[in-house]
């Protein structure tokens, strides 16, 4: 099979030797069915062993190979060369500090994910003797799309609000909060509210919608945030009219 010669222009940053990131070009003989990740691995294996990037599954499941390819954040394992020109620019995700080459620091994102309590907070243990919670297809459908997130951070890379305000919880974390809020087994909406309904939560979002456009798993974080805004507005006015109702709504006694 004949190889197609591609120029990969990769943003390099080696903190021990560079004060700021610089581009480096590689000429890579590529096979027709390759994705950008294959081309990067070719560089790593044959041209420059110092190039650093994250990847694991090579099948759009692990979410670790997110990077900016010709100005669009995407999974490099899903970016087929047949859809791209002969000159491809590869950069780390935007809005995150670069650790080395194409790897960005995940710390802030991980903290945000944790802050929305992304786990089931049931009101009481299930009465079912086999320990399971029953759920209908309709109940599953309500949250399933929002459960497809693979934490690739592409949505944070394009979110102008996250770029402007580091405190903003961001699209994926808020979509994940909604995924649990919308789950019939969960009762933790009020417990997540302190983060979700704060000025650095859903209310920081101005509905630009770029997150939903770039999401490789079609999660639609923008829709999740809008739905949460409706629910939080209803809660806000309910609390205003019936201030005492709020105490009862903290079912799991969470004090954080």
């Amino acid at each position: 099979m004949s190889a197609r010669q591609i120029t990969l222009e990769v943003l390099r940053y080696r903190p021990e030797s560079e004060s700021e990131p610089v581009f480096q070009s590689y000429s890579v003989p590529c096979q027709k069915e390759w994705v950008v990740l294959d081309a990067l691995n070719y560089v790593k294996d044959n041209l420059d062993r110092t190039l650093s990037f994250r990847w694991s599954c090579h099948m759009a499941v692990c979410g670790s190979c997110g990077m900016v390819i010709n100005d669009n954040p995407m999974l490099s394992c899903k970016a087929f060369l047949r859809d791209l020109p002969d000159h491809i620019r590869v950069e780390p995700l935007q809005n995150f500090p670069i650790e080395r080459d194409l790897m960005v620091s995940l710390d802030d994102f991980m903290d945000k994910l944790k802050s929305v309590k992304p786990y089931l907070i049931p009101k009481q243990p299930t009465a079912d003797p086999d320990g399971t919670y029953k759920q209908s297809s309709a109940q599953l459908k309500k949250f399933k799309p929002f459960a497809m997130c693979i934490n690739c951070m592409a949505c944070y890379s394009v979110c102008p609000q996250y770029g402007l305000n580091d405190g903003f919880a961001g699209p994926a974390a808020l979509a994940l909060a909604h995924r649990y809020n919308a789950d019939s087994r969960d009762q933790g909406r009020r417990a997540r509210e302190d983060v979700v309904a704060s000025n650095t939560g859903i209310w920081e979002c101005t509905f630009v919608g770029a997150c939903s456009e770039v999401c490789p798993k079609n999660v639609d974080p923008a829709a999740a945030i809008q739905q949460t805004k409706i629910a939080s507005t209803v809660d806000y006015f309910k609390d205003l009219l019936m201030p005492s109702g709020r105490k009862i709504a903290h079912p799991e006694g969470d004090t954080t």
């Binding site: 102008p160 402007l164 509210e193 302190d194 983060v195 309904a197 704060s198 000025n199 650095t200 939560g201 209310w203 101005t206 509905f207 630009v208 805004k229 409706i230 939080s232 507005t233 806000y236 006015f237």
Partner: protein, 115 residues
């Protein structure tokens, strides 16, 4: 972390967006197409007829509600757009946008009362 008070303005913003989404197409079709194309007779939208609808207490109430939510929708959208384009003095933007919406609401009420 303190809960935000944005639901107040966002509620009005959302109501304005929803109301406009339903009513603007109706207005556009009626005034932009139905009347010029002769699908409605000119007398259907005669001044006297429209005036009698608008000055009826129910008409005034509906108009007041619709205008108010539209003002606040525009104000909130302008505030968030100002933020998106780089005007980050939110306090000033808020005062200008919501001030304009508040003033417009009062003027609308006065106008409708004077009909």
């Amino acid at each position: 972390m303190a809960r935000s008070h944005k639901p107040v303005v966002w509620g009005l913003f959302a109501a304005g967006g929803t109301a406009s989404a339903f009513l603007v197409p109706v207005l556009a079709i009626t005034l932009g197409f139905a009347v010029p194309l002769g699908l409605l007779s000119p007398t259907d939208l005669s001044f006297d007829r429209v005036y009698s609808i608008v000055s009826h207490p129910l008409g005034r109430l509906v108009l007041f509600g619709y205008m108010t939510v539209c003002f606040w929708h525009a104000a909130h959208r302008t505030r968030t757009t100002a933020h998106d384009v780089g005007l980050h003095n939110d306090r000033v933007t808020m005062i200008v946008c919501y001030g304009a919406a508040g003033l417009s609401t009062v003027l609308a009420a006065l106008f409708l009362l004077s009909l």
